[in-house]
């Protein structure tokens, strides 16, 4: 058994027409699972069990199967993450170009270990595998944006803007 956060008991998509649109573009309902999960995650910030059940209802499968899918992908979170979700690439090119020291810097700065959320809920940090921007290593991804060719100084400057 797994616990899926402690979110609300019910979940409803706020963008109903978007849901309809997503469902309509696939030949079968099940295929809409991933877009719907993305949509749900955008709405709440992570996937509550209520959200998973809602998606399951929409695509007409057992919530277990949705959970199966959710747990497979790293971009789906079943626990709350920070408002600024910092993902540091740690794969080869980035690692060669100093991603590790960047991680250390962020951990120290916010007193969080990779995989944790800061106490005020502002920042969360994870180490991720290749983000596909190796020419501008090291790369970090904060929420949905890439920040390339990072250095410690550059990072500090970026976070100031939040």
């Amino acid at each position: 058994m797994n616990s899926v956060g402690d979110g609300q008991l019910t979940f409803q998509f706020s963008a109903a027409e978007r849901v309809e649109q997503i469902l309509s573009q696939y030949p079968d309902k099940r295929s809409a699972t991933l877009p719907l999960l993305h949509l749900a995650q955008e709405q709440v910030g992570y996937l509550t069990s209520a959200a998973i059940e809602t998606v399951a209802e929409l695509v007409e499968v057992h919530p277990g199967e949705i959970m199966d899918t959710v747990s497979f992908y790293t971009m789906f979170y079943t626990k709350p993450k920070g408002r600024n979700h910092i993902q540091v690439c740690q794969t080869l090119s980035c690692s060669l170009n100093g991603a590790d020291s960047l991680v250390d810097h962020i951990s120290e700065k916010y007193k969080i270990a990779p995989g944790e959320v800061s106490q005020d809920g502002k920042i969360s940090l994870v180490k991720v595998e290749c983000l596909g921007s190796c020419d501008t290593a090291p790369v970090i991804r904060i929420n949905d944006s890439y920040y390339e060719g990072m250095t410690v100084e550059k990072f500090d400057k970026i976070v100031e803007s939040f």
């Binding site: 079968d28 992908y73 501008t136």
Partner: protein, 435 residues
């Protein structure tokens, strides 16, 4: 040979290269018009076959041949999936195309769909590429507006819908069967073959999965003919190829060159040599899944599918990762192993258990607690996961997992230990404690 002018990336430096108007200005969607007017689907397939276009996703399978596998008498709909789930470490060429030349790819998709009689195509884009997704979404909208997509495209009577599907962070979904499963809304566990996707793929219907770069080549083939395309590059592989250079080079990035360019040229001419003029130590020629090459092995090595196979590595996605003399190979090896452990889908036994085991052993060696026996164990474990690099020497002892992930784990790690054994031994003997 004439000086090669970039084909795919020729106009990407323009600010509006990603818009419909920008693309049309440089001759975009011409091929489409030509095709609808003059060609039948079979002719398109023949043309692509004749162009000797090989898949740019990694395996290098001839694209036209792949299309030909679709059963002719099938009653089921056919699907095309554009594989934009680029996750290979050291590879970022598709991202460039997606953000700078989405219409080129869309045109390729329409051509391909027409050839295989597909009316619903998907673009499976990596979940992390949110900005690119937005660009692409825009491009698709524009294409719909201009009737390049939708019903009765350009009055040809051909319908095509394109759906952009975002992944959610799984390297294995770049494998075509994993991708199809993921598209179906399931976990990205690759299905066992046969049946091949061209027969039973998405929703058990015939499905073609093509890489972004492959699709982007199609308009050019149709525009300028198969013979022109064939003339680019060496005999062993034709067409332009996007090479990615990253790691310890002065000028990392994506460079378009014909297939068969020398690796040294790539590193020293296009990549402008190594940072601080350091000595080259090793290089991955085709992303982290290819076997590593030592500096003394790359002289005169051509970057095409067959030459690299002969050198017991592979072109893969042409993601060249360069390592200089200061790089610690054990930590690089551990880094790669950790990547594969994290991305192993966990379906087949050897890969699920073996990757974890490898990381544990490498970690121990890295922490200076290894033994010489561990080095032998790495050889054995990699062989057990993915088989030997050399198919002849392995005597059929490869292909131990459902998908090629097993080999993708085994070969680079094995090559590390094989080619830099002395560094591993040094770790073991000195008990180097990095922490």
């Amino acid at each position: 040979m004439a000086v090669f002018k970039p084909i795919l990336t020729r106009y990407i430096h323009r600010k509006d290269s990603h818009t419909l108007s920008g693309y049309k200005n440089v001759g975009g969607y011409k091929a489409l018009e030509k095709m609808f007017k003059t060609m039948a689907p079979d002719e398109v397939i023949e043309e692509v076959k004749a162009s000797n276009l090989r898949g740019r996703g990694g395996a290098g399978f001839p694209t036209g041949v792949k299309w030909g596998f679709i059963p002719k008498d099938s009653q089921k709909p056919t699907y095309l999936i554009c594989n934009a789930d680029e996750g290979e470490p050291g590879t970022f060429k598709d991202r460039l195309l997606l953000s700078k030349a989405p219409h080129m790819m869309l045109e390729g998709m329409i051509i391909s769909s027409f050839a295989i009689d597909c009316h619903l195509a998907f673009i499976y884009i990596r979940g992390e590429f949110y900005q690119e997704y937005k660009v692409l979404e825009k491009a698709v909208e524009e294409a719909y507006a201009a009737n390049f997509l939708g019903k009765d495209i350009l009055g040809s009577g051909f319908d095509l819908d394109v759906v952009i599907h975002r992944g959610a962070g799984a390297y294995i979904c770049g494998e075509e069967m994993g991708l199809i499963e993921s598209l179906e809304g399931k976990r990205g566990w690759p299905r066992i073959k046969p049946p091949f996707p061209a027969v039973e793929g998405y929703l058990m219907c015939p499905t073609i999965v093509n890489n972004v770069e492959t699709l982007a080549c199609l308009p050019h083939i149709l525009n300028r003919g198969a013979d022109w395309f064939k003339s680019i590059g060496s005999e062993k592989g034709s067409g332009p190829k996007l090479y990615c250079i990253s790691g310890r080079v002065n000028n990392p990035g994506v460079y378009e060159e014909p297939l068969g360019i020398l690796l040294t040229d790539l590193i020293f001419k296009r990549g402008r040599g190594l940072i601080d003029g350091r000595e080259l130590k090793a290089v991955f020629p085709g992303g982290s899944s290819s076997a590593i090459l030592r500096a003394d092995e790359i002289d005169g090595l051509q970057m095409d599918f067959d030459s690299l196979s002969a050198a017991k590595t592979m072109l893969g996605s042409a993601g060249v990762i360069v390592m200089d003399e200061t790089v610690d190979m054990v930590s690089v090896c551990l880094n790669i192993a950790r990547f594969y452990e994290h991305e192993s889908c966990g379906q087949c036994t050897p890969c699920r258990e073996g990757t974890t085991w490898l990381v544990k052993i490498l970690n121990r060696i890295y922490q200076g607690k290894g033994s010489l026996n561990d080095i032998d164990m790495i050889f054995e474990i990699t062989d057990n996961i993915g088989g030997l690099i050399d198919p002849e020497a392995s005597g059929g002892s490869f292909g131990k997992t459902i998908c090629p992930f097993g080999e993708a784990v085994a070969w680079p790690i094995r090559s590390f230990v094989e080619k830099f054994e002395e560094e591993f031994i040094a770790y073991v003997e000195k008990g180097v404690d990095v922490s």
